[in-house]
Amino acid sequence: MLTPWLVGFILMWMIPMFISIYYSLTDFNLLNTPSFVGIDNYIRAFTKDKSFYQSLKVTFIYVLVLVPLRLAFALFVAMLLNKKHKGLGLYRTLYYVPSIIGGSIAVSVVWKQIFGNQGVIMSLLNAVGISQTTSLLGNTTTSLGVIILMGVWQFGSSMLIFLSALKQIPYSLYESAQVDGARPAKMFTKITLPMLTPTIFFNLILQIINGFRVFTESYIITDGGPLDSTLSYVLYLYRRAFNYFDMGYSCALAWILVAIVGIFTIVLFKTQGSWVHYEAGRE
């Protein structure tokens, strides 16, 4: 029963992975025979490539700003939806929709129109008297903000996970807190948050990994511009591979990204003990 899966795994994952490790050590443009250059590609990335650092910078800012915002927003909406009122199912669906469609080309195009020079946002700003010559997307200081905003908007999957975790918190905890006269804010910080830490941890890891993989938004909306201010790491990698046919080098870039994500994950797991709260006996 496992065989088809195993064959698929070996053919589609294992072999390409090992081949790409090999390519990362070669000079290869898809047409020539790869020539072995040792770790030259890695050295080139760290010592000679300004765009590499620019794309790293952009991606780090993206991840560090996006992930906390997205999680906070997801939790906020999850708490709103964790009550009983009319049309709850509809709301839950509506809030989840952006996560399904958000990564698509079509939405990116819409986003480009909304924030562009003649888009809705600029027209509204003009209407209230704030006139600007450059649009939010055409400005090197605000363009990344627009991309991040679009990322925050896709909070649905984290929200669903939070929602199910909220339902797991025993109601008796809140009842006894109420009896003791705790205010809602106190209940949130002393009951809800601690009980949610395992879920937050899970969401955090997931979203950081996702964040480092940002591609569609910066490719479609801004194509890395203006002036590389939205050049995400994966977009740069893609350009190296398919615009410049620098396959060996882009394989090296891919492995550097794997290492970065790996380090982030390991560090987060190390800090787990100090802030993630597991219920006694479940550890």
Binding site: M12, I105, N117, L137, G138, T140, T216, N243, Y244, F245
Partner: protein, 456 residues
């Protein structure tokens, strides 16, 4: 998963398959050579017998819907005339075309005939992926007598004819006469200079509030190349390992000229232009009468004649203080034949017919750009089927030939990276993040390192 990601995945997969195939290929080179010899021998016998062998030619090109339909008609017509030749066509848009082609090539499955761009011709030639067409020119299969020699030689790399040029284009300026008239500015003539151009642009803006010129001046290096050549120098050195011009002042002046026009609002800044570009060329400001001029290729007016038939073309401005011939005939696109192809002779016959036959050109109507054969150009002008703009374009080619200098050598490997570096350098000036002087120096540094890495 988005379409784009799917495409990447597909490419990655194709790449993997390609690799295994490639591995087999290198392992058995002798066998393949042997089989090729057999085929050639077969061909000869077939020809001697006068009995045409059934062949299938795989052909790939990029383009829009019009080109796809026309080219398919041309292929059908050829099959009708030569019932033994069948085609397998792979039309595609520009996006993704070269991604697909390179994976196919890596796997040894390159189509027999491929439409090739100047940007990538050198890369394919250096890797010996494309066949030398000189033997077919020498044996009379491909008739090149109607093609300007300088233009024909653009396909020559390392003494091999790696691609046969199909069309030609020249850097030109398109203008909207109505806008110029509205501003009270006289229409430019072929002897106008850069200072005339700047003066006219400013006048248009002052009188009408519209843009003077409207284009992306940082899109690629073609306009800059023209500028450098007007200074009597070349963009790239002969060995393609560094920039060819020595004085960064040339580059600095170029950035400064456009930047000061932008600062005065005469020329759209990159942000404004990005918005203009999303409207598409048919709704561009020169077409709609919201700008006076545009730096473009000489097929601009004819391409847009269905939306605005008033646009006229003129050669780009002359230098104010030099006679150096900046203009050149740019090869539009090429047909290359795969080195791995088993049907090179048939492919060459088709290419000859494609370039030199009246019936093929009657269908295509110069959609790929001005045909290279002067006989075909004369034929099409006299046939009366051309629109006014197309006629002007065809005649313009012969006129401009007088002021054209040598065609620069084919683009070096890494050209798309150079374009990106140029775009970034120019935009850093336009966004006010660097002085023109610093940007010119940064471009040199970046370009030299790209060239050195790619042209060992």
């Amino acid at each position: 998963m988005s379409q784009r990601m799917k495409r990447i995945m597909a490419a990655a997969l194709a790449g993997t398959v390609a690799l295994s195939a490639g591995a087999c290929k290198t392992a058995e080179p002798e066998q393949e050579e042997a089989s090729q010899k057999v085929t050639e021998a077969d061909l000869k016998t077939a020809a001697e017998d006068g009995d045409a062998k059934e062949v299938t030619i795989k052909i790939a090109w990029w383009g829009g819907q019009t080109r796809h339909e026309q080219t398919q008609q041309v292929l059908d017509l050829y099959s009708e005339l030569h019932p033994n030749v069948k085609f397998v066509a792979s039309p595609s848009g520009w996006d993704g075309y070269f991604e697909k082609l390179s994976t196919q090539t890596a796997s040894g499955a390159m189509p027999d005939i491929v439409q090739m761009d100047y940007l990538y011709l050198t890369t394919y030639a250096k890797n010996n992926s494309v066949a030398d067409l000189q033997e077919f020119i020498d044996n009379g299969t491909i008739d090149v007598s109607g093609i300007d020699e300088k233009l024909l030689n653009t396909g020559q790399i390392d003494d091999k004819m790696t691609g046969l040029v199909l069309s030609t284009s020249m850097l030109s300026f398109g203008y909207n006469p109505d806008v110029l008239a509205e501003a009270g500015v006289e229409e430019p003539t072929a002897d106008w200079t850069w200072s005339d151009f700047i003066e006219m642009s400013k006048k248009v803006h002052e009188a009408t509030g519209k843009y003077g010129p409207a284009m992306d001046t940082a899109l690629d290096t073609n306009g800059f190349n023209y500028w450098v050549r007007q200074h009597g120098q070349s963009l790239f050195s002969e060995d393609n390992k560094s920039l060819g011009y020595t004085d960064d002042k040339i580059c600095e002046d170029y950035f400064t000229m456009w930047n000061s026009l932008m600062e005065e609002g005469v020329l759209p800044n990159p942000d404004e232009y990005a918005q203009i570009a999303t409207l598409g060329q048919e709704a561009g400001p020169v077409v709609t009468g919201d700008a006076a001029m545009i730096m473009e290729w000489n097929n601009y007016a004819s391409k847009l004649s269905s939306v605005n038939d008033k646009i006229k073309m003129v050669t780009p401005p002359m230098s104010d203080d030099s006679d150096a011939k900046g203009l050149w005939m740019k090869p539009g696109m090429f047909f290359s034949v795969a080195e791995t192809s088993q049907v090179k002779q048939e492919a060459a016959e088709f290419i000859n017919w494609f370039i030199n036959s009246k019936e093929a050109n009657d269908i295509m109507m110069a959609e790929r750009g001005t045909p290279v054969s002067s006989e075909i150009r004369d034929y099409m002008i006299s046939s009366g089927k051309l629109g006014e703009q197309q006629k002007a374009m065809f005649e313009g080619v012969d006129e401009a030939a007088a002021i054209c200098g040598d065609t620069p050598a084919p683009d070096p490997v890494g050209m798309s990276e150079i374009n990106e570096a140029f775009k970034n350098a120019a935009n850093s000036v336009y966004y006010g993040q660097a002085t023109a002087e610093d940007a010119a120096a940064a471009f040199r540094e970046e370009a030299n390192s790209i060239l050195e890495r790619n042209n060992k």
